[in-house]
Amino acid sequence: MSYIHEIEGLDIAWCPGCGNFAIRKALMAALEDLEVPPQKLVIASGIGQAPKMPHYLRCNCFNGLHGRALPVATAIKACNRGLTVIAEGGDGDMYGEGGNHFIHCLRRNPDVVHLVHNNMVYGLTKGQASPTSMRGFQTPVQTEGVILEPFNPIAVAVALDASFVARSFAGHGDHLKAMIMEAARHRGYALVDIFQPCVSFNRVNDYKWFEEHTYRLEEGYDPTDRQAAFAKAMETERMPLGVIYRNADRKTFEELQPAWEDDSRPLYERETDMEELGKLVESFRG
């Protein structure tokens, strides 16, 4: 079958067996069920293998600089609320180079879906450690193994009261599709951290490893309980998959802008009130 957002006959740059293929399929399936027309969808991305996603889908795209997709996505949504905005990239892009933007995006809470392909390694630059690489992971640069504590995006997101925090796994297509759909339907910032096996540069965290080190959140788990979410975020031996935390009470960045209070038109359709400006200028007169 083919999807509305699918482009046929692509020369895709990902390695055979890469987790990104499954993420692409889940994303297309989710977008189709969400009935987001390609013209109203913008995917902002950075640099790496994951950020190539918008080139492989029918959508508007802003494939910008390494680490900078979140500021771009935030501004796009703030200027045109009629667009569905996704920021997509890998763990190095979003948690390393763009780490400061990640932190502040959680505080800002734009209505943006944040998809992070987390493969615990740098793929495009051929196998160096990423912020989420495990201690001891050996690479051409970390020759004796990683000595840094891994970055825990789920814990950081819960700590900053992110409005939606989920985790999924590329190996579980239906679960991933469901998480993307929940994230898109959520009003406000929504993180989906996606475990994505890198078949070329990470021989440790492969499909089997992720199967063995993850589990689905139990029925009855309450994602609005922040303390419980913290406890889940701290589980690193076997990591939970599902919606870990949700705070539906937070207003979005756009909702808090005076510019959107009484006017639903995208900003580019609005004109400067030159008469009002004339009055403002006159207020400076002697």
Binding site: Q39, A259, T272
Partner: protein, 575 residues
């Protein structure tokens, strides 16, 4: 003691109030400026201050004149020193003609050897008598108002309303403090009259450069602004934040300059005109984003308020050191435009024009100012709202829309996402016509040529240089040096000297080279140590200056001392 002003027709006086950070110099400045303006005088005010919240020595210049004045002078006619340190700080600018008002205590500690005539006034004691020592600034304002022989009742009304928001005790205390100061000033034998102009200055707009740039941005159709605070550019961010509700703007303080520039591009990608405001250090952080603007051909306006560097430099002072930075910002090759307003009117009109220029040519446009423009107030005759173009350059995304089409242009027509059935794709990688990654090297060359091809249109839209006078000796300047150069040349009273101000440095208007070639000699005036504009004239116009007048101590050019430097350069050249 009125002095001859910038020409024989006007008289002016330069009053300087100096004290520690935290002593309320700013309150004295705004109060006195407002009182003196109400008496019909023209007032130019500017400040120099240290990068600290308490202590040190800060000063404010109030230049009063019977005619328009738009730049500072070095000379100090009346100094109000709030403490012994202030005397030391101002000694270099003071001379025999300087009258100094200070408390007896300050004069005892710091007055020895101070040039000029001293007038002891027990400022601190009067403040204490009025209730609190912190009213010293208000006493000082009263002393100056009294010395000028202003109308006490009118002053008290103004003082009362300016302290309206305070508690009753403080408001009354300040009124008492002002009145004691006023009476003490009235008793001094200072003869400070400046003849009121025939036509009062009351009708002009009184604003500073930050406000002028901000008003220009609104006029230019700005809808989104994101920046990280950095002196001296923050005034623009603060001003626009204050106007967000009234004009439906989205104004956000970013976590860093990198975020700011990327947000700016995200905004204009949706068609919302956007601007960032920063200083040199922030611009350095933005430079990858500027390169991105060059590659994805998304317009952006960058306001750069310069201060001295390198690195943190002198954070609160002025300079013109970042022309090279602006011209070189961003890796790779792509066209940009650089505008440099020299007056408040230009700060408005060039800021507005920047948005039109950026969208028309799909390039980053820099508006380069500095601390002296940002922080100086003077009456502006008017802002040219009618001269602002509201033309837009966006198309709808049709069925087969391709953002980087090679047919027609450059630039390729710009559509925004959601504007039609087509898709709008941008890529920081080299890309094909539809905006997707390519490594087709022939296509790469065509894309580079298309991007650089925008330069021709930019050159057609370049602003002509401003000329004042028609003498063969040309004093060439850019940005904030403009007003000081114009007044300095007037002071020289030499018929063969003229001023050329460049409101646009890149691309340079064709006539610049022609005019400079015809000049008898060229003297450049800039606020940096290496003559950056002079080098640019060499590169773009094939002209090297005969003399350079450079100032890089963190202070602005002042008309009187600049005139003397120009005289030496001209006479030396003739020698």
């Amino acid at each position: 003691m009125a002095r001859e002003g910038k020409d024989a027709r006007t008289k002016d006086l330069n009053v300087v109030i100096c004290g520690e950070a935290g002593q309320g110099i700013k309150t004295v400045e705004s109060l006195l400026a407002s009182l003196l303006r109400a008496s019909g005088l023209y007032v130019f005010s500017t400040k120099e201050y240290m990068s600290r919240v308490r202590g040190g020595s800060n000063s404010t210049d109030l230049r009063l004149s019977s005619g328009p004045v738009e730049c500072p002078v070095e000379r100090v006619d009346l100094l109000v020193a709030l403490g012994p340190q202030a005397l030391a700080h101002m000694a270099g600018r003071s001379g025999d003609g300087t009258a100094v008002i200070a408390s007896p205590d300050s004069l005892e500690k710091g007055g020895e050897g101070f040039p000029g005539k001293t007038f002891p006034v027990a400022i601190g004691e009067m403040a204490e008598d009025a209730g609190r020592k912190v009213y010293s600034n208000t006493v000082a304002a009263g002393v100056v108002a009294g010395a000028f022989g202003l109308d006490l009742q009118r002053c008290l009304e103004e003082v009362g309303s300016s302290f309206e928001d305070m508690g009753e005790e403080d408001r009354k205390g300040n009124l008492t403090a002002f009145e004691s100061g006023f009476r003490a000033g009235d008793d001094l034998d200072l003869d400070l009259s400046v003849p009121a102009p025939e036509e009062g200055s009351g009708d002009e707009l009184l604003l500073n450069g930050a406000q002028a740039v901000g008003l220009g941005a609104i006029a230019g159709g700005m809808r989104f602004m994101c920046s990280y605070p950095m002196s001296p550019s923050t005034g623009v961010l603060a001003f626009l934040a204050g106007q967000a509700r009234r004009f439906g703007l989205v104004v956000e303080q970013a976590e860093d300059e990198i975020s700011a520039v990327n947000m700016g591009l995200g905004a204009w990608y949706t068609g919302a005109r956007s601007m960032v405001t920063t200083s040199g250090g922030g611009l350095a952080l933005m430079s990858e984003g500027i390169s991105l603007a060059g590659m994805v051909e998304t317009p952006l306006v960058l306001h750069v308020a310069q201060r001295p560097g390198p690195a943190t430099g002198l954070p609160t002072r002025t300079g013109q050191e970042d022309l090279d930075l602006v011209l070189g910002a961003g890796h790779g090759e792509f066209p940009v435009a650089v505008l440099a307003p020299g007056s408040l009117e230009q700060a408005f009109s060039l800021a507005a024009r920047a948005f039109w220029l950026a969208e028309k040519h799909q390039v980053p446009v820099f508006v380069v100012t500095d601390q002296s423009i940002m922080d100086s107030y003077y009456p502006a005759s008017g802002l040219d709202l009618d001269g602002v173009s509201t033309q837009r350059f966006l198309v709808d995304a049709g069925e087969d829309y391709r953002r980087y089409s090679l047919g027609g242009g450059p630039p390729s027509p710009m559509a925004v996402p959601g504007s039609g059935p087509g898709l709008v794709c941008l890529d920081s990688d080299e890309h094909d016509e539809s905006g997707h990654i390519t490594e087709d090297l022939d296509l790469r060359v065509r894309m580079v040529d298309k991007r650089l091809g925008k330069f021709a249109g930019l050159a057609e839209d370049a602003l002509e240089p401003e000329l004042v006078g028609d003498g063969g000796v040309m004093v060439v300047c850019w940005g904030s040096s403009r007003n000081a150069c114009i007044e300095a040349v007037e002071r020289l009273e030499m018929e063969d000297v003229s001023v050329m101000h460049l409101p646009q440095l890149y691309p340079l208007h064709d006539s610049v080279a022609e005019l400079l070639e015809e000049a008898d000699s060229v003297i450049t005036v800039e606020g940096n140590a290496t003559g950056q504009m002079g080098r640019l004239l060499g590169d773009l116009a094939g002209i090297s200056p005969d003399h350079e007048v450079l100032r890089y101590d963190g202070l602005p050019f002042r008309a009187d001392t600049l005139a003397e430097k120009l005289r030496k350069a001209i006479e030396g050249g003739r020698g």
